[in-house]
Symmetry: C2
Subunit: 344 residues, 2 copies
């Protein structure tokens, strides 16, 4: 595919760029009135995820309405446990809830199935990407994504969010064999799922490890990073971005991973991380999503100050976490405009 | 006071010790059937906090029942916002909930009062400590505590727990003057509160910054550590422990603080932290609380391995977070026994 704007891909690969590319995690979502109009016209969040025409429409919205340099497919990381047999409900203001969980070998037998055709169960994501690619017609690249095995594992064991994720972490001590078995299954399915996305037209894939930060370095390396690495090793069709939120102590290990880009949360200092990982990786991030509550003038100032802290061209600009739903879209526009007008 | 066992205080001050002292965050609490019996005999958690005889009784329980080297007064960090006029309810399985919050100057006028006699409103904590000291009769030291200003600020602004604490963090961008005003008030009151605890007999005080990890380094230094330091500077009667959970990047700054001991969460590697802070501070922690779900044999092994990683005597052994309520007390005993029999 020839792109009108392929800054994202060039930055990911470490090629020359004329300015930093910029996009936002959760850019397709509740900050846009145009998204909320579609969301309110249907029964729920999951219907939106599972209806390719609508998923594609909200995926393209921020390209038109905000001017970002990439579209990220509108979907949910929890489609993977669902495909394995663990259905969930998305409860407004509370988050996901799973009726059943995996805590022992019997549960794993019942809800750990991965021996199926991924297109059969997740074909709606393939269709949504194909429609998005068609609609975008080369304007910007499309980002596919999946949850990291450790994060998906946490949801499958815990059954939802948690303050401590102590059930998930307990398994690592009481039954590491079961934990590795489940993590391996999630990993294998995730690789097939991402390859399906790439075949459908995703030009880069990002793996989100939202709960990386609840493990210490050694445990994260064993139960988290190991499986992220397996994914990065398996994907050679397109650049891969690994985002391990809160895994500060594992950054030097991430630097040796087979990925092109490392995502930084807003607590990670880009300068320090650059010192740690060197020039071999692109860094993505990491303005504090709360910074967008500030005045336009301050958003501009903080964005410029972030960009000035970069000591290399190997950067993709983003927030350090998903944009919060009550942020004024005009503040997002100021953020994007500032990045676009910053001279390299 | 002459102690039969003053290991905790000697370790905190960097004096010689014959073995590492050990205690557990949340040791007075739901893991003990003897605690649950008392808790079930009354109306709720807050009644327990506010009844000195009962608070003292559950404070002493783990000294008798687990053999820890220190008692920590049974109380709650949220007594501070309550004293300032923001009452809260402790909702079973959900955590604290405040009816009112502080989001603007008007709120601060209404719920930010600190101009009162601390003994008038928090005298029950003083009495609980006095009773504890009497009951312990010098067997082990008593630890007093308070929440760090940043963590208390989060509860007062948010009104409870949160996944993102975006309301609290928003204020840092939109109204830093208000934020500093509230943080200063909390700090002043906390200093008076801790001095009351010391007068009542607390031999060491610990300041808990549970939400330190949601801020990046620079913001934590400005809105978090600054006020922790102010407390450490004001307390010279007894050793001070600062516990900034998740504030990995601020550890070098903590090393210059006027405290004796730095608490480590279970994600921080003691060896790395020792390299960062040097020999000037005692380190406290940091076995993963989930490790106590493992077998007795594994608990012993992991505890020994933690102790072997210490390159100095300046350590107080603890978990890296509060003990989880469903942990078998016998596993805690194995942890404690292993520490006590470890030869220095």
């Amino acid at each position: 595919m020839q792109f009108k704007n392929d800054l994202l891909l060039r930055a990911a690969k470490g090629e020359d760029i004329e300015r930093y590319p910029v996009w936002l995690m959760r850019q397709a979502g509740r900050i846009l009135p145009e998204y909320r109009a579609i969301r309110n016209s249907i029964s729920g969040f999951k219907e939106l995820v599972e209806t390719p025409e609508l998923a594609a429409e909200v995926t393209v919205q921020p390209v038109d309405l905000l001017g970002v340099d990439a579209a990220i497919i509108f979907s949910d990381i929890l489609v993977i446990p669902e495909a394995m047999g663990l259905t969930y409900q998305m409860i407004e203001k509370k988050g996901p809830h799973f009726e059943k969980t995996i805590r022992n070998e019997d549960d794993l037998k019942k809800y750990g199935e991965t021996n199926f055709d991924v297109e059969d169960r997740l074909g709606y994501v393939k269709e949504a990407i194909e429609l998005t690619v068609k609609e975008l017609n080369g304007r910007v690249p499309v980002i596919g994504f999946a949850g990291a095995p450790w994060t998906i594992f946490c949801y499958m064991v815990e059954g939802g969010g948690s303050k401590t994720f102590s059930n998930s972490r307990k398994l690592l001590y009481t039954n590491p064999t079961l934990a590795h078995d489940l993590l391996s299954r999630i990993t294998d399915l995730t690789i097939r799922y991402l390859k399906m996305q790439i075949k459908a037209g995703a030009n880069l894939v990002q793996v989100f490890d939202s709960w990386a930060g609840i493990l210490g370095r050694d445990q994260y390396n064993e139960f988290g990073l190991k499986y992220m690495n397996r994914i990065a090793d398996a994907i050679d069709e397109v650049p891969v971005t690994l985002f391990a939120k809160g895994a500060y102590a594992s950054l030097p290990h991430l630097a040796t991973s087979n990925c092109e880009t490392i995502g930084l949360d807003w607590n990670m200092d880009p300068y320090t991380v650059r010192e740690m990982v060197g020039e071999v990786k692109t860094l993505q991030g990491n303005l504090d999503p709360c910074a967008l509550y500030a005045s336009h003038q301050d958003v501009e100032k903080m964005t410029n100050s972030l960009l000035k802290s970069f000591k290399s061209k190997r950067h993709i600009v983003n927030l350090g976490h998903g944009v919060y739903p009550d942020i004024d879209p005009d503040k997002v526009r100021t953020f994007i405009k500032t990045v676009k007008s910053y001279e390299l």
